[in-house]
């Protein structure tokens, strides 16, 4: 029982982090139709910028607020100057461009912050542990379990009810028609890309107290995010949520009960999902 609850919490906290990152990836794909290879690099940038802000103002909360915002600003610039040129072109152009952005960001981080490892401390309120049966469990991880759904719900409400959310959904469905009724689609696209990357940056800043920072740290997470997004259905919000939770739980329980086989499970599940539902669990059939 005890071990079950600890594994459950482990799986949930990792799953929630994955969800934040994946939902950004899936939103950008759903609206812009761009598969952003550099998404993991924005995740990395979020972590580093959070750390950098904390060097100036020694508060994790300020870092969490400002770091991802800077990421979003940079993303808006990237969309306006670079990404905009490849919409509607062959998918290879998008992949090449976003991959190039990944390389530039990874090396940029290495030049600015050096190749070494960095750690970020969790805020004092969340730094401790609480006792769980005979064990202790870090409070910060519990915070992650709750932070994910809160941000997710806010996003969902934003897309569902707000004027901007409705415009975004309209533009995703039919950009030409949306433009026809007076929605400024290019501006909207910039905003959506910035939002997607803000989520990645948020994921990075939230992950920072939990894992060490090193250049190219985003490359590890991008693979898992892709699994989540593809299995959940490209562009699907609930798909990203279910996919991320499932992957997080598979990893935590699989590690304990299955040993090495666990590594193969995400890929087997992904393959099985694609065989049964080629567009993913929540994917829309064309």
């Amino acid at each position: 029982m005890e071990s079950f609850i600890i594994n459950l919490l482990n799986g949930l906290s990792w799953g929630m982090l994955l969800f934040l990152i994946s939902v950004g990836l899936t939103t950008v794909f759903g609206v812009l139709g761009v598969l952003n290879f550099a998404h993991g690099s924005f995740f990395m940038l979020g972590a580093y910028l959070c750390m950098q802000v904390m060097h100036i103002v020694p508060s994790f909360w300020v870092g969490l607020l400002v770091g991802p915002l800077v990421v979003a600003l940079l993303a808006a610039l990237v969309e306006k100057q670079l990404l905009r040129r490849v919409y509607g072109r062959d998918i290879a152009f998008q992949l090449l461009l976003t991959f190039a952005i990944l390389l530039v960001l990874d090396d940029g981080v290495r030049i600015i912050w050096g190749p070494g490892y960095h750690v970020v401390e969790p805020p004092a309120v969340l730094a401790g542990v609480f006792s769980l049966f005979d064990n202790t469990y870090p409070i910060y991880r519990l915070f992650l379990v709750f932070a994910g759904p809160v941000i997710g719900l806010m996003l969902w409400a934003f897309f569902r009810f707000s004027r901007w959310g409705k415009r975004i959904r309209a533009a995703a469905m039919d950009p030409e028609m949306a433009e026809g009724i007076g929605i400024r689609v290019p501006l909207l696209f910039t905003a959506v890309f910035a939002l997607g990357c803000w989520l990645a940056g948020m994921g990075g800043a939230l992950a920072a107290p939990h894992q060490s920072l090193a250049p190219a740290m985003g490359e590890r997470i991008i693979i898992e995010s892709f699994i989540v997004v593809v299995a959940g259905g490209m562009g699907s919000f609930p798909g990203a949520f279910i996919g991320a939770l499932a992957l997080g739980l598979f990893e935590s329980f699989g590690t304990v009960f299955l040993g090495r086989v666990q590594m193969a499970i995400p890929y087997i599940v992904l393959a099985a999902v694609l065989l049964i539902r080629p567009r993913g669990l929540f994917g829309q059939e064309d």
Partner: protein
């Protein structure tokens, strides 16, 4: 018409090239050394350390008159941690840059694949980091040497320590590739021989997290739930940093289990963790900058700290030491010829900051002491230091030539 327009440009270009390259013509033919380390990606810290160590050695040697009077030039290439890229880098260094000697290699996986193709390049290679016993064992050859502590030496020291901890049931947490698995395999083999009656958890109960893991809590949980009272940890770099922080939060280091971390005394790990590194853990390394106060070591640590503002890591020491090893071999051979250098390297004894090392002629592994210690706070240093330090003599931890299994 077109030709005529371009011709002057070509002339000017040639002229300029002459101007640029003329002053570079060296007085004596240089000795060129090619370095291949991981210079990009998540492990680029290791390449960066090696580069710092190498550049310090080259600067010192050139200021003191070079190797047998030849100035030393360093060439750095990125292995990216991939075997095929590393082989291409070596080929480029040997055939294009025409380097005399090679130094390098961080990853055991890369080393094992690259080593068999070094003889084709007819150029000696000194390995300074990759620890797999295979490169001075099953795939050893005339051209490849290693001056750093290898996995067998480090783990033999670990098992000598383990025998004294009082723990009787052992498990492991190691990276899920050859290094992690071999560390566990050798540990089991050595500890069984030193102290019979020890129990080792079977393969499916130990923890081998994949390299990309950032969340170690399931593995930590698994170890904490197991009946083992001793844990061999062979994670390194960022993996180790994450493992230690998360393990500390979850209470892994509360003293219930004996924990040995084979590469825990690496300064890049200690430097990132600072006071988050628990005290009183047994940690190993390949070189510890406070392990001896010989004049050689003191001078090296001071020169390194003056130049870079940090303490030398084992990878910095490895690359630094390898340059000096080539220098010593060239002096012994009285030549800079590649084949003569190889003959001189066999059996060579040289004093490096880590201490005196001797390269075994049979398998080309250096007999070098293994260093372990207990983490402790010291107000004089920003990082955890080792107190006490335990030095295991090379003779006590190096497998015999027969056991190493090298058939050149």
């Amino acid at each position: 018409m077109k030709m005529n327009k371009r011709l002057p440009v070509v002339f000017v270009a040639i002229l300029l090239m002459g101007l640029v390259f003329a002053p570079l013509a060296p007085a004596a033919t240089p000795v060129k050394i090619g370095f291949v380390y991981i210079m990009s990606g998540p492990f680029s810290a290791y390449g960066q350390f090696a580069k710092k160590g190498a550049e310090l050695a080259v600067a010192e040697i050139n200021a003191a008159g070079g190797i047998n009077g030849h100035p030393v030039e360093a060439y750095f290439e990125d292995s990216t941690g991939k075997p095929d890229v590393a082989i291409r880098a070596f080929r480029k260094l040997v055939f294009q840059e025409k380097v005399n000697y090679l130094i390098g290699l961080d990853s055991s996986g890369v080393a094992k694949t690259v080593v068999p193709s070094i003889p084709q390049m007819k150029t000696p290679l000194i390995i300074t980091h990759a620890a797999t016993p295979d490169v001075t064992g099953s795939v050893c050859n005339r051209y490849v040497f290693r001056i750093s502590v290898n996995l067998a030496q480090n783990v033999k020291a670990a098992s000598l320590l383990a025998a004294e901890t009082g723990a009787t049931t052992w498990t492991t947490v190691g990276p899920d590739y050859a290094f992690g698995h071999q560390s566990w395999e050798y540990f089991e083999k050595y500890l069984k021989a030193i102290k019979p009656g020890m129990t080792f958890l079977p393969k499916d109960e130990v923890a081998f997290p994949p390299f990309k893991t950032t969340d170690f809590s399931p593995y930590i949980n698994k170890v904490m739930q197991s009946k083992a009272d001793g844990v061999l940890v062979s994670l390194w770099g960022g993996n180790l940093i994450d493992f230690v922080r998360q393990g500390k939060e979850m209470g892994l280091f509360n003293g219930k289990k004996q924990i040995l971390i084979t590469l825990g005394a690496a300064v890049e790990v200690l430097g990132a963790l600072k006071d988050k590194m628990p005290e009183g853990l047994w940690v190993g390394t390949r070189y510890w900058f406070l392990a001896n106060d010989s004049a050689r070591n003191t001078a090296f640590v001071k020169a390194y700290h003056d130049r870079y503002g940090e303490y030398p890591s084992y990878n910095a020491h490895g690359a630094y030491g390898a340059v000096y090893t080539y220098k010593a071999a060239a002096e012994k051979a009285g030549s800079i010829d590649k084949e003569k250098i190889i003959d001189a390297l066999e059996g060579l004894t040289v004093e490096l900051p880590v201490g005196k090392i001797t390269i075994r002629p049979e398998d080309h592994q250096a007999l070098t002491d293994a260093c372990w210690g207990k983490t402790a706070a010291d107000p004089a240093y920003p990082i955890r230091v080792l107190k006490p330090i335990k030095i295991f003599k090379a003779a006590d931890v190096t497998p015999s030539v027969t056991d190493a299994g090298c058939k050149k």
